[in-house]
């Protein structure tokens, strides 16, 4: 069972490593979206510092959504997904593995890029650390909830935009607690509360999302 789980993760990561172009697109999308904001609102350092955490977080949501429609779609198109569903292992293990692979491919690079973008927004050092920490707890939530949306919209026309419509409202708590944690450092009110809530939300997503996503996958493929 564990072997199946790790095979799923390894396979997806390997596939992404072989297709670096696709993978880099989402990362550059993240960088570019964030860099557009100072151009739009002006280079005033104090204002950039106030909007910085929120902008980085919103861009992280969008970047994670951008790569979601490929989560199951490629395997669905060439029939691999059906074979995986026929395997004797629980489908929720498959969706959990897929979500974790999505996080490794798209979430971890964000953690590395985010501090650099934070510097652009004039964030102080502790806030940069908090940004990385909140993203480290928050981006798995994005992958997990996103896998539900990806499974529901599998093989539909205009699936990419549809995923955005379905999943963005569900991301709201992660955005609020994640950006709020960084905000807490900036305003000096502390961020333990937000981090704990973000962690609780992660635990709940970890518990429920793979299961719902497996049901959605069965609905979409049958």
């Amino acid at each position: 069972m564990l072997k199946f789980f790790f095979t799923v993760i390894r396979r997806d990561v390997l596939l992404a490593a072989r297709r670096r172009g696709d993978w880099l697109t989402a990362q550059f999308f993240f960088v570019m979206v964030v860099s557009m904001f100072p151009l739009g609102v002006g280079p005033e350092p104090t204002m950039l510092r106030t909007i910085g955490p929120g902008v980085v977080w919103v861009a992280a949501l969008l970047a994670s959504l951008l790569s979601l429609d490929r989560l199951f779609a490629d395997d669905y198109r060439d029939g691999t997904l059906e074979q995986m569903l026929l395997s004797p292992y629980p489908t929720s293990l498959l969706t959990l593995g897929k979500a974790i692979a999505h996080w490794i491919i798209n979430g971890i690079p964000l953690l590395v890029i985010a501090p650099v973008l934070g510097i652009q927004f004039n964030l102080p050092n502790e806030a940069l650390w908090m940004l990385v920490l909140s993203l480290a707890i928050g981006t798995p939530i994005l992958s997990l909830l996103g896998s539900i949306g990806a499974a529901l919209t599998l093989g539909l026309r205009g699936g990419g935009v549809l995923v955005t419509l379905l999943i963005l409202p569900l991301y709201v708590p992660a955005l609020i607690f994640g950006a709020g944690a960084v905000e807490g450092i900036l305003s000096g009110t502390g961020s333990e509360a937000q981090l704990s809530l973000l962690g609780a939300f992660l635990m709940m997503s970890l518990l429920l999302a793979p299961w719902v996503s497996a049901m959605a996958l069965r609905v979409s493929v049958e």
């Binding site: 539900i148 529901l152 919209t153 539909l156 026309r157 205009g158 549809l162 419509l165 379905l166 963005l168 409202p169 569900l170 709201v172 708590p173 609020i176 607690f177 709020g180 905000e183 807490g184 009110t189 509360a193 937000q194 809530l197 939300f201 429920l208 719902v212 049901m215 959605a216 609905v219 979409s220 049958e222």
Partner: protein
Amino acid sequence: MNLYYYASPSTFYPLAGKLIPLFSALAFILAVVGLYISFFVAPTDFQQGEGYRIIFIHVPAAWMSMFIYVVMAFWSAIGLAWNTRLSFIMARALAPTGAMFTFVALWTGAFWGKPMWGAWWVWDARLTSELILFFLYVGVMALQAAIDDPRRSDRAGALLNLVGVINVPIIYFSVKWWNTLHQGSSVSLTRAPSMAHIMLWAMLVMALAAWMYAIAVALVRARSLVLERERQTDWVRALLEGKP
């Protein structure tokens, strides 16, 4: 009487046909009575003047917007658990009405906010969660509309609906804490003086009217969905040929 008897589309169809006039009439009468009380009987509020009368539309719409989402989730859960076609049809038939009430609540809220707070929109916890509820309705309807196969469309919509219902309280509290952590709440929605009894009555009557209206409209929509889905069956053919 066996309740499951009406779970079949062929028995539900005539039952709904009989219930629709009843609920429409109730909705009409209650709305007339409710509007009369709210405009002519209820006294002018000493703080808010005449503008407060918007709440007689606004509050029932906001109640219904949340209630309908939960009812939809109830039908979705039943449909997924027992695989009953009619539950999915009910869930689907309720969605546009729920979205409409959410929109009305937001819209009338803006009209109320402008004279009372001096702003069409503030990022208050209730307003924000109502807006996100509207997005959730839109998401469910968009997903249902994007899938051509009715079976898959029903199930996908139902799953999303259930995920949404788990998320609604989380969203509400997160927005609430976000608001209080961000800034001291600039406006409070909770009115300090307790409401006059007659105002409360008007609001309850209006809420009942909205409720009856929602049932009537959902049944009309469910009936046409039944016809659309069962068009290849004998009873629908007999029904359509029986009419001149």
